[in-house]
Amino acid sequence: MNAIEVHHLRKAFQVQQNRAGLKGSFQDLFKRSYKEVVAVNDIDFTIPKGEICGYIGENGAGKSTTIKMLTGILVPTSGEILVNGMVPYKDREKFVRNIGVVFGQRSQLWWDLGVIESFNLLRKVYRVPADEFKKRLDELVQRLDLADILHRPVRKLSLGQRMRCELAASLLHNPSIVFLDEPTIGLDIVVKSEIRDFLKELNQKYETTILLTTHDLQDIEALCSRVIMLDDGHIIYDGGLQQLKDKWGGLETDEIVKSIYKSGSSQVPEESADV
């Protein structure tokens, strides 16, 4: 069974154009001009249940936009999405019960209160039974080493501590699919590897499907068997990490990715561009 199915997915935004100079600013006062920017352009992919898939691409390639459509935050301009057999943006409240999301650059915890307060609220939000919640929380606390920070206000946590709490928060309701948007951004090497180990274990133990975006290719090497590479809204590579390496003749992953980014889609070897 497929956890995620995406067909001909497209998202375009209207972006306001500001005219230059004083005269332009006055003109803008009366009539604004807009330009259509296509963030995601006609992409297709499927991710089977229980897979860890890396979703990579340059800044502005459309990764976050895709994640936001897959999680029901954004409504696509056209195309189809099925996640867990549901259309994310329709029936959103029901859909999000079974997914977990972490945005590395945004916190989902309550800034002014102790971490445990956020967890307790999330328990009620996701209607997790008390005993199940306790079991789950104990496991996460022990695995992510949260015991000392559970009662500290979120604003007083370090980034590494906060990110561990964010992960725990997104997993309290035991979702079958987890979306991680740059979960290791800004973290030191120790925390990074802890998080990688944790995700790997999570995937093996609960068969959780994980889709993660990252700029750190070590995340990909440590976790993913499959990589989807995005450039300018198009998928330019979708396949195994090992095949990618083989094709580029033993280069290091970051060297390969760097040359693909630099050259754009056209230079990717033909066979690897299949979907």
Binding site: L74, V75, R97, R106, W110, D112, N120
Partner: protein, 264 residues
């Protein structure tokens, strides 16, 4: 479901308690406000006994009550919504299995309950020692007043939500939020009771929801609206609170389609 919303009310209550100085200064600010209006009105009255049907004592009571009511219904939902939309954290709200607007409303309610018990009541006690205030002893009047106060909160929050949601369409709605605040304070009767307004303004005021926020409950408690009229007046806030749902739903639906998350 219900326990979740209750938890949200409780959390906002705790958040308010987390900042103590804010709390103490709050009581003081309200007392000073009431004091300022008391002396202002005393100067306006001069030697006259009555103005627009209000005696000085009635006026002082009116001012104290409307400000204390304001502590309960006032909230910054417009600003909170606007900030969350602008900085993109509204995205986080969309990944949760709850209705964002109801959650916001509950947060406002937590704040309202906090201020009611910890600002309004102690503040009212403090103020009644300093200024001549006569509160009614009629239970029925208090009941209608308290019911109306709940609707004050609902209507004020609904107006705030409408203004806050406009951020989806006009990216920076600072100006509209300021305009709304002045409009609400003026048209709801916090600054001047409606009976002081010029005659031509009356149909306009009657046609707008603002008077239901402060003027109507204050008229009930000061006895300007009495008897069966109290209960019929109650229909105005009830009607408005239902009517205002329509624009909120329409704006929310349109916003969901054009939602863009700022900052990537």
């Amino acid at each position: 479901m219900f326990s979740m919303y209750l938890e949200i009310v409780r959390m906002r209550f705790m958040m308010m308690l987390a900042y103590r100085v804010n709390y103490y200064s709050g009581i003081l600010v309200y007392t000073i406000n009431i004091g300022a209006y008391y002396f202002l009105w005393k100067a306006v009255y001069g030697s006259s006994e009555q103005l627009a049907g209000f005696t000085v004592v009635q006026m002082t009571t009116y001012v104290a009550i409307t400000w204390m009511a304001r502590a309960f219904y006032f909230n910054n939902l417009d600003r909170e919504l606007s900030n969350e939309i602008k900085d993109g954290s509204v995205a986080i709200q969309m990944i949760r299995p709850y209705n964002y607007l109801v959650v916001k409303m509950m947060q406002g309610f937590g704040e309202g309950i906090f201020r009611f018990f910890l600002f309004s009541i102690p503040g009212m006690i403090l103020v009644s020692f300093i200024f001549p205030i006569v509160l009614p002893l009629d239970i029925e009047r208090w009941i209608v007043f308290l019911i109306m106060l709940v609707f004050s909160f609902v209507i004020n929050s609904q107006i705030n939500i409408i203004v806050g949601l406009m951020t989806f369409f006009i990216e920076n709605n600072e100006g509209i939020m300021r305009m709304k605040r002045v409009l609400v304070d003026l048209m709801s009767g916090v600054i001047v009771p409606m009976s002081f307004m010029p005659l031509w303004a009356k149909p306009i005021i009657d046609a707008l929801p603002f008077q239901a926020i402060a003027y109507l409950p204050a008229s009930v408690i000061t006895g300007r609206t009495a008897g069966d009229e109290m209960w019929t007046t109650l229909l105005i806030p009830v009607g408005w609170s239902m009517g205002l749902m329509i624009p909120i739903l329409l704006i929310w639906r349109a916003a969901r389609k054009r939602l863009f998350v700022q900052g990537g």
